[in-house]
Subunit: 890 residues, 2 copies
Amino acid sequence: MRYVYAFDYKHRRPPMDMKDLLGGKGANLAEMTSVLELPVPPGFTITTDACRAYMAEGWPRGLSDEVAKHVSRLEKAMGKQLGDPADPLLVSVRSGAKFSMPGMMDTVLNLGLNDASVEGLAKQTSDERFAFDSYRRFVSMYGRIVLDIDTREFDEPLEKAKERLKIDSDAEIPAEELSKLVELYKKIVKRESGKAFPQDPDKQLRGAIEAVFRSWNGARAIAYRVRERISHDLGTAVNVQTMVFGNRDDSSGTGVGFTRDPATGAQGEYGDFLVNAQGEDVVAGIRTPQEITEAARLASKSDKPSMETALPKAFAELTRIYKALEKHYRDMQDLEFTVEKGKLFMLQTRSGKRTAKAALRIAVEMAKEKLISREEAVCRINPAAIDQLLHPTIDPKAPRTVIASGLPASPGAATGEIVFSADEAELLKSQGKKVILVRVETSPEDIHGMHAAEGILTTRGGMTSHAAVVARGMGKPCVSGAGVVRIDYAKGTLAAGSHQLKAGDLITIDGSTGQVLLGRVAMIEPELSGEFATLMRWADAKRKVGVRANADTPADARTARGFGAEGIGLCRTEHMFFDEERILAVREMILSDDEKGRRAALDKLLPVQRADFVALFEIMKGLPVTIRLLDPPLHEFLPHTDEEIAEVAASMGASTEKLKHRAQELAEFNPMLGFRGCRIAIAYPEIAEMQARAIFEAAVEAGRRTKAPVVPEVMVPLIATKAEFDLVKARIDAMAEAVAMETNVRIRYQVGTMIELPRAALLAGEIAKTAEFFSFGTNDLTQTVFGISRDDAASFLGIYTNKGILTVDPFVSIDREGVGELVKIATERGRKTRKNIKLGICGEHGGDPASVAFCVEIGLDYVSCSPYRVPIARLAAAQAELGKSFTNEG
Amino acid sequence: MRYVYAFDYKHRRPPMDMKDLLGGKGANLAEMTSVLELPVPPGFTITTDACRAYMAEGWPRGLSDEVAKHVSRLEKAMGKQLGDPADPLLVSVRSGAKFSMPGMMDTVLNLGLNDASVEGLAKQTSDERFAFDSYRRFVSMYGRIVLDIDTREFDEPLEKAKERLKIDSDAEIPAEELSKLVELYKKIVKRESGKAFPQDPDKQLRGAIEAVFRSWNGARAIAYRVRERISHDLGTAVNVQTMVFGNRDDSSGTGVGFTRDPATGAQGEYGDFLVNAQGEDVVAGIRTPQEITEAARLASKSDKPSMETALPKAFAELTRIYKALEKHYRDMQDLEFTVEKGKLFMLQTRSGKRTAKAALRIAVEMAKEKLISREEAVCRINPAAIDQLLHPTIDPKAPRTVIASGLPASPGAATGEIVFSADEAELLKSQGKKVILVRVETSPEDIHGMHAAEGILTTRGGMTSHAAVVARGMGKPCVSGAGVVRIDYAKGTLAAGSHQLKAGDLITIDGSTGQVLLGRVAMIEPELSGEFATLMRWADAKRKVGVRANADTPADARTARGFGAEGIGLCRTEHMFFDEERILAVREMILSDDEKGRRAALDKLLPVQRADFVALFEIMKGLPVTIRLLDPPLHEFLPHTDEEIAEVAASMGASTEKLKHRAQELAEFNPMLGFRGCRIAIAYPEIAEMQARAIFEAAVEAGRRTKAPVVPEVMVPLIATKAEFDLVKARIDAMAEAVAMETNVRIRYQVGTMIELPRAALLAGEIAKTAEFFSFGTNDLTQTVFGISRDDAASFLGIYTNKGILTVDPFVSIDREGVGELVKIATERGRKTRKNIKLGICGEHGGDPASVAFCVEIGLDYVSCSPYRVPIARLAAAQAELGKSFTNEG
């Protein structure tokens, strides 16, 4: 078995397809060298086979010979020898597994230095300081990584030296001091490892290679593989590469570049360059980098020469390579290079990270350049990143003081005055102020305050808590579950660590990262480019699954249409109940002792509810609208504090006693599993009747106005048995009939149900006998399948993802194995009974790309998500249809 | 097609197998007449075929002829003619569907009476009053049932007549007044139906037959069939039968009888008899009935002659029939008979209802008499009724004042003083008083009070609420969810309707019926007869599935063994945490800020927990014991009221602030779906470690003492993913290893999990890779599959069963379609992965006969239930094994 391949070895397959054998880095270097024939510092890769052999039975037979052969080939190519006291060849040794993996040995640089060759390096670079610093670093790196010596052993003498010399930075340590440190380091190596630091470069190399092999089974690497479900059998490759130096003279230099602007996507060479410098100097930011092109220099008004001027030959070569790389990899590349004595060396290339805006422009332009197909362009965009395009974001360059962190519950950023109640939010908003609503948690009663606020911050609740769900629906930034924040409603203050804030103080929240920031922070406003529309058009051309929006209000519905929603998949009627003018009638209904009283209160609600639906139907004209009957437990509508109760009692003319007693009666231990959903419609059919009547009357009216007949889909929530559904459906059908008789207009409508309980999924075949559509309520299904309340999950879900028990929050991305299996079962059984049953999903998962992919796979008819996620869903659906998810991250 | 069969028609099959055609009543009459050849008043049955034909296309062709032919056959046999003015033949017309069905036409008696024949009846019975009363009843019955006239039309003149005559009872109305009423009734019929009351008996008969047919589609009958899932296509049969009169003279009479004593099961003729009387006289209880046998007369010291003396010939015949009936039906019979002029007529026979005690004695004795097999004897006992034998019951003869009704949560009855807190219960108990603990609901903190109380009454919660489950476990009576009862803890009072009671007042609760009674009520103490042991022995001989008990304390464990448990299927370790001396350490653990603090507190708990297990292991010596790790949310252990918090804070030396804050932190919206089960073991592994150590150390110690090695089964609760299980199992295994090293004893043990979440059921194949046993926690599985919190279900579950949405509370009897399918899926997937995986059930369903049958069907290895239900489970399991459920109710 062959264990070693030079980078220039002509493999039969493209090296990038051989990551199993060569590892990611090795494949990349081989691809650049052997396929693209770029000037890469020569080197070789020891395969993962060698690593596996080593793990099985120690240092593989024949490996030493192969390595020696390849080293001498390197020496010949470079005209230098490892350990040569005059002009030594130096190499780097790097691990490179199939998947990049934190916790594994990373890099040993400058291997080949010893007491003799360090002098050669000093002479060759005319930089004694550099040579000894390189040696010092090599010894400590080798000691730490290969010999497993505690890094503090080396750091301490270094710090002491700086103290003694009264200097701050390593770069100021003079050469002779570095030379002394090397001597000291070698003593430390001897003391700690029991053996002298190896002067023989071959021994150094073997040590480093073995260290890479061993690091595969380091504790952190194993833990990482467990978490990421990477097989322990893969092993890692080892890359040994000639070192080149950008700091030899003024005809040398180093730089990083992008083939297009990673911030905007604009075409043209882009990058930073430093003459007479090493890679780390660029990264360290001590010297201001120079521009690559003369044009960029002029644009930035830099007085330092561009690479184009300073190193014209290398620049020309680099320009050629930029083009070649894009053509070969068919994507924007992020590359590193070094120029040694005028000669350009490519060190690395990979797909470049980019902003969402840049990704969009690059994908669309590459498709127009015919570099990639439209399908590929569609697949190049991370749907999740589209959020960045739709919401204001915090300027990455702006200084920020983070005072707390919570969950990134709804994307975008907002600044405003702190308010602690919904009423206050509304009041200040009416005075023209911008506010952030800060609550322990929100409830449906806070809706008006959430509408008024720029953003919402809660100290409890997860990604699908009330605040998070509603904020996403409204497209407002929200940080939820910021547990470190303590609110004192009575005093009107909040504490976050050492920060004490009060109502009226300014804060900024970043719903994309979960950060809470002090004061006002600079923002970047979203800008929907022409490329956005182009790409969405291409996506829609490939998409088969419908995309609807969850929308409860006319404003939601308008936003949804603007983002391309093809109907409403979920209208939560209860949100219409919380309006200040209506809540009284709702409470009256709940407090009534008998059906007659309830009907009287419902009579007051009928016209307003009907008006709501008329508005929705008009906006969605011709498109399907799914309306869910009242779902939440009735106690959500009752006031809670003594003060509020007294107020409501007074305004209703009811006794405080009675109100309290009813509230107590309705209180529940586990409201999620309580008296809600269709259970309300079963106990108080008159509520469902009022809602059904409002729907059908509104459909008649909207149809008359728009001339486009609406097709309402009436949805019964929380079904566990077919009998429940049938009882409620009978009431709905009766109302449809009554309205048809009264108005002489017969509306086409469907009656269906949410599938949000495991039992409903299992019994889907039965339920489909009478239900005309299913909408999967995967929020509640996830809660019941996992037995996890989304409102209480914060206390342990973090531990779960940290320990790798869950790789992703199941409320964010659908759990394919559990929840997914039930959705599949229901899909199959439902279709078996009723071939053309309409199937959709209206949980929060409808806007999650991975979940949308699942929905496409199992063949749902549509997904429904909050309006702001509609573009995400459209894109994710197209990608799923194309059989892949986005692929631009290297 | 033939539509009519005489009772004496010789069918080819036993008539009792022909209920589809003849209906239940018709089959019974035909069986008695044609097979047993008993003296039954002759008659004929019009088949369900005729009813179906009538529903499809009106009065069937040829039916009139067939009826006429059979009527004249009757006339010949009786020597009388329908409508004969001298000595008329009278008949009854009764409906009789396959299943007895409320809401259908029941009976028209005395058909054949008209203005002329009433005189003949008067003459023949020498009782003008009787004749006219019969006629009056016939006219009103006919008017109401056949002609659909409102019953009030007939009731009103009757009431007025009584007012006028100043008499109270119908029986006092003289003949001439009855004659006038008949005339009035006929006018009412004319007015209301538009037609004169038919004088022609043939027309009367046809009208009655049609009325029976029509009643099949009456609203109440349809609703009943929907609820009971009876097909609407069955139709009903109609029975026309000669009337006989027990009130003709002193050689006539009527009676009811049982072939054995229905209260005790004792052998011998048993019954009541009245000379010169009609059946309704016996039922009305106006006259004191006479005994059947002379022996019984002597025993009851009655001065009225027994039937044996008064009508010796009829008695001899009856005695013969008693024997023949038992021999034929092979069960105790409940029969009705009439003697007309010395001739005995059998009117009905059916399996007799009996007490559990009688059922047991009859079944065992019949098996010993070889009348039935032992297997049949086992199947004759309703397992649910065994509860009656194990608990005191309220004397059915005792007067009672029911002040409220709740759910029959735990069987048995108890009397005691009202107490409103657990501490008070304990205090009064220590003073020798008997108390009933009355709470809105109970929580684990009330355990000591429940132990001290005779019974528990709660105003909230269902059949599987905390109170219900714990009470059943303790074998104490409990009425739960008595919503009408209002408790005022502060005042120490309760109100139930108009009744106001205070602490210290006596009440009695009947946990078998759910009744709450005022004061002390007479009880019957249970008595375990020799037949009980015999029958259980026969049952065990047939049973294959194991029966274990859910037992948390040594007392539970002892009771369980006494009732024949074959191990412990569920030991809830948290119940051990509430003991007053331990709760402090538990709270200390919860309040600790770090692992070190928690470990210190756990160190205090280790010895007590170990001692608990040692005791359990010793009692169960050699039998398997399944111990579940800590399951409930931690906040259940913290105090709730300000007072309690202050007290605990003081005794712990912690600040009230801190305690409150921690309690707030731990509070949850939906604790059922919160931070509990294995989630605690994942977050605080040290708790699981302490418990595992306690288990293994106890196993070593108990093994040393008893010389019988225990096999602990350590159970991880609330698993949703394999990763959770593996993490916790690793800790348990490590503890086993540590204890083995320390003690030099290696314990055989298993680690398994509860399957109580839908996801665990679906992923059972995965989980079984490492889990060695599954125990189905069907309580929680029912909660999550249905999305119903058992603590909150009371508010709508009643409506659900009333409306027929659910036929049975799914927390009482397993839902085969939903929960059952998941249990089956988990069983199949678990066994596919691990062939010999041990499977059991430990939810409340483990003690429910129908659920036990399900467990036997799907092949579980054992069921586990509360100790008092162990005999029930043993019997139910045997019956399931024999492929049938009990069958003694006619």
